[in-house]
């Protein structure tokens, strides 16, 4: 594998944003995701390879470590920042079609709920694993999900809820999405949500952590 892409994976895994960033201490003074992505593209590395062989493996490792409690939210946020810095360089290639994401994931915290850290982490991790992510924010009702689905046919929808009261909205929204767009896959998550509830409301997946939803999405797009 290209040495640069290997380095890029490490930058994502350890959250090295750019040369100036002091984090992580063991990579101080070295080039970060920003410089290496630019360099790889300038050297003619295929943009698709930068995504799939550089950025994605790094993010996948972060997801696994987060699930295993080997890294925590602050480090995931660092990795996500490194990722988004690199993605800026790739944007023109996505726009032109020279590089493609694996699919689209629409995510939002359901109506009545304003919690968003968990949802944001999921969004970052899914994006870092090669998906286009449309984040609808918090307090989202069915119509907004459906509008986003109209613009992105075939997208998977993710719903987040942190209160038992808003889980009721999660149920209604899931049913309304399924009624309007029967083939849409709906994934649910959030602290009080569980597998049993997910099944009961007719959702297609419950994931307790970001890596699990990535794995679910990968089975649907592979």
């Amino acid at each position: 594998m290209n040495e640069l892409l290997n380095k890029l994976s490490n930058c994502i895994e350890f959250g090295k944003i750019n040369k100036a960033a002091p984090f992580p201490p063991q990579m101080k003074g070295e080039d970060g995701a920003d410089e290496i992505t630019r360099q790889a593209l300038d050297e003619g590395v295929n943009a698709q390879d930068v995504l799939t062989e550089g950025l994605m493996p790094g993010m996948e490792r972060v997801g696994v470590k987060f699930r295993e409690n080997k890294v925590f939210v602050p480090q995931v946020l660092m990795s996500a920042k490194a990722m988004s810095t690199a993605m800026v360089h790739l944007k023109p290639y996505f726009d032109s079609g020279a590089a493609k994401q694996k699919g689209t994931f629409i995510i939002g915290t359901v109506l009545g709920d304003l919690h968003d850290i968990g949802k944001n982490l999921v969004a970052m991790m899914v994006e870092g694993n090669g998906y286009k992510v449309i984040d609808l924010g918090t307090d989202v009702d069915t119509e907004k999900y459906l509008n986003a689905l109209n613009e992105n046919p075939g997208a998977v929808v993710g719903l987040s809820a942190l209160l038992t009261t808003t889980m009721a909205n999660m149920e209604r929204i899931t049913k309304e999405i399924k009624a309007a767009a029967p083939n849409t896959l709906v994934a649910v998550g959030g602290a009080p949500v569980n597998e049993e509830f997910s099944k009961k409301i007719g959702a297609d997946n419950y994931s307790s952590d970001p890596q699990a939803i990535v794995e679910f999405l990968n089975t649907k797009t592979a």
């Binding site: 002091p22 984090f23 992580p24 201490p25 409690n69 890294v71 925590f72 939210v73 602050p74 946020l77 660092m78 996500a80 920042k81 109506l111 009545g112 709920d113 304003l114 919690h115 968003d116 850290i117 944001n120 209160l163 038992t164 009261t165 808003t166 909205n169 602290a191």
Partner: protein, 242 residues
């Protein structure tokens, strides 16, 4: 710190005691924040310590940290194994909490908040410029809300002790099988809003970094640790805490 208790005697919420707190007087232990972030002092490497120090310094400027409580008589006759009655309201606290309230004569209802400022600050940073710093504020915001809860609990304990009464631990709607929808009843005791905290129709408190709940008071009540051995909520903030 010269902060004086203010008795807010409004039409809707009589004898509602509300108090402001400074960040310093809450004496939040940085170690607690480090642990919530996922680290120990030894594994807490840069830039996180700098972020934490910066956030602690900024939090000194917060001036909307508040706690309020109201003590009401518990209606022994209407209360049963799963619920308690106060004024004309029934709180479906569930078996676990109800047991802890055995012997209570009065109930203190409380609302505590870290205020809107820290929630907004965390939110802004999380969405933009610096998500890591935003997350540090987010975690400190939660710790502030809980620390105000500790202070309010200590205040009630002290004043009740003088009258020869004891207090129970504190319990919140949404924990230990007490349905979070009872928040509406709890807030109605404060005339719909307390310490600037409002409730949404879905029972969410706004600002987000807020907590609510009750404490039992009586000569014969006991202060017990949470009985968590049967509960599946592994990450509960109150798990095995007193």
């Amino acid at each position: 710190m010269k902060r004086i208790f203010s008795l807010c005697l409004t039409n809707t919420a009589k004898m509602n005691i509300e108090r402001s707190f400074t960040f310093e007087e809450l004496e939040i232990d940085p170690k607690e924040i480090i642990a919530t972030l996922g680290y120990t002092e030894d594994s807490f490497f840069e830039p996180f310590p700098t972020y934490l120090a910066q956030a602690f310094e900024c939090c000194k400027q917060l001036n909307d940290i508040k706690g309020a409580y109201r003590i009401l008589k518990m209606d022994e006759f209407c209360s049963d194994k799963k619920k308690i009655c106060v004024q004309d309201l029934q709180f479906n606290v569930g078996r676990t909490i109800r047991k802890e309230l055995n012997g209570a004569e009065n109930i203190a209802f409380f609302v505590c908040t870290a205020g809107a400022e820290i929630s907004q600050l965390a939110d802004k940073l999380l969405k933009g410029e610096d998500p890591v710093l935003g997350y540090v504020y987010d975690v400190i915001g939660s710790a502030i809300a809980e620390a105000v809860g500790d202070k309010i609990q200590a205040t009630i304990s002290l004043s009740e002790q003088k009258a020869g009464r004891k207090i129970t631990n504190r319990y919140s709607p949404g924990y230990c099988h007490w349905n979070v929808t009872d928040q509406h009843k709890l807030f109605s005791l404060f005339g719909g809003t307390a310490c600037g905290v409002k409730l949404t129709p879905s029972s969410l408190m706004h600002p987000v970094k807020s907590i609510s709940g009750l404490i039992g008071i009586g000569e014969n009540v006991e202060f017990n640790d949470y009985q968590c051995n049967l509960c599946q909520l592994e990450n509960c903030v109150y798990r095995d805490k007193h």
